[in-house]
Symmetry: C2
Subunit: 300 residues, 2 copies
Amino acid sequence: MTDIWPSPSSSIPGFSSCTLDRCDQVRVDPAALAEWFADPAALRIVLDGLDPALDGDCLAREPLPYDASPETHALLGCLEDRRPLFVELKRDIPHGGQFAPAVWEAANVMSAEELSLYAAARSLVDWHARHGFCAVCGAPTRPVKAGWSRRCVGCRAEHFPRVDPVVIMLAEYDGKVLLGRQPRFPPRRFSALAGFVEPGETFEGAVARELFEEAGIRVSDVRYVMSQPWPFPSSMMIACTAQAHDDVLTLDIQELEHAFWASADDVRAAFAGDPEARFIAPPAMAVAHHLLKYWLQAQD
Amino acid sequence: MTDIWPSPSSSIPGFSSCTLDRCDQVRVDPAALAEWFADPAALRIVLDGLDPALDGDCLAREPLPYDASPETHALLGCLEDRRPLFVELKRDIPHGGQFAPAVWEAANVMSAEELSLYAAARSLVDWHARHGFCAVCGAPTRPVKAGWSRRCVGCRAEHFPRVDPVVIMLAEYDGKVLLGRQPRFPPRRFSALAGFVEPGETFEGAVARELFEEAGIRVSDVRYVMSQPWPFPSSMMIACTAQAHDDVLTLDIQELEHAFWASADDVRAAFAGDPEARFIAPPAMAVAHHLLKYWLQAQD
């Protein structure tokens, strides 16, 4: 069976190679922004709903329509040749909370940089589509700052795109790491445990809380490894390791269908695609893949 | 002149010591939640608007009123003796975006744990007060999950409290670190540069982008040091170091009034409160204080 998850890069997680110049000064300079909208060389990327439309290994681009405006388009930034790059803000698109098959397929052919540009555009477009009204007073909102915020036409409150921190972590005990599977995972797939960071806690605190809530284990010595944007719709994955105080599991079965302590040999077998492996590893797109590789390297 | 910023702990930043058991299973168990609301031993913390009300070195607590309900109160968690702890959700409170003098004063007397509990409660109460309407459709929303989300009465969309990641970083070059001051800072105060993480970028990417946008410098080798909740209203500070490629500054004067490269001796003089120091150090409450101490220790 072919794994439909892509492997665009074995060295870094997907969505993590954004090199675009975001040109933030232009966002708050109405004259400069008007010039960029009027630039005949200006482009916009093409999305199919929230999914990427491809031109070879790039996101498809097309000339910015003559009637494009800050009401309908967000400025992503500029290309190396200084051409402005926009994306259209659409209202009638499906909610972008799920990792869609079209993204998996596109990610197989896109470069790491294009995939990262797509992540930024997707999160931004999805946020606009779901934030047409003011959470404070219920009145309509309008895009401002070239699409990097929205302002309420009633109470004037300004609202910014969400970036939602999620901790994802490997608890370690006696040379093994804790892996779990959620009911929605593909068969035999296991991954690192994860959960949203809540108001009033550090990343380190969130790692400790989630591991106790989901698996009943206490940890210390939490260490940050890497971060990854995960645009479904707007997560920021924060990958960590932690040292467990013991290996006795008490699972929250609402969250985890199963969990076990994997040895370095178990993880090596999974990465090798061994049919006898205890689990199927998370794909190279996911930060959990890289977190497991990071841990494995430290075991050699 | 006395510095009005508090120094509740010299070892870790403020708001970073949350030890409360958040009892997340109770949030989604209506029967258990009803029992907790009916518990005669249940307490709620007292806030004065969004500011803390104190009882000695603790947040003031009072019995949960008999008419308290999930419409009006959020469950913070439970105390060590398992007593449920709530906070009232008020609508008519000032916007909590600014670090208020009342918080500085209270932080001088509160324990690190109480101050962290306050941070969680403040962010949560402020979020509810400013999210009475659905961003998707404009209809009213109601608290659900014991106050840890809100659901739209119209389209049924569920909305979660915001946690907004902010990178704050010391760029290093030739044994010195870059410090800047915003126009709103107290006189002579300098701190690490900072900025919100945007959709589609890693923390490391955000650090590099912000340093280039605000100071014109390119960096590599970005390293995470620590995180800190900063509940004004809902930031998550991510403290990092980075290696600058050169020391030539091009300041964005909208963001930074001034910036300079501080030597270890400059930083030591500031921490010592030397009146001849080149700057006044950020207070112990702020993660920038601890980031500077972390850097200084590595210079010894």
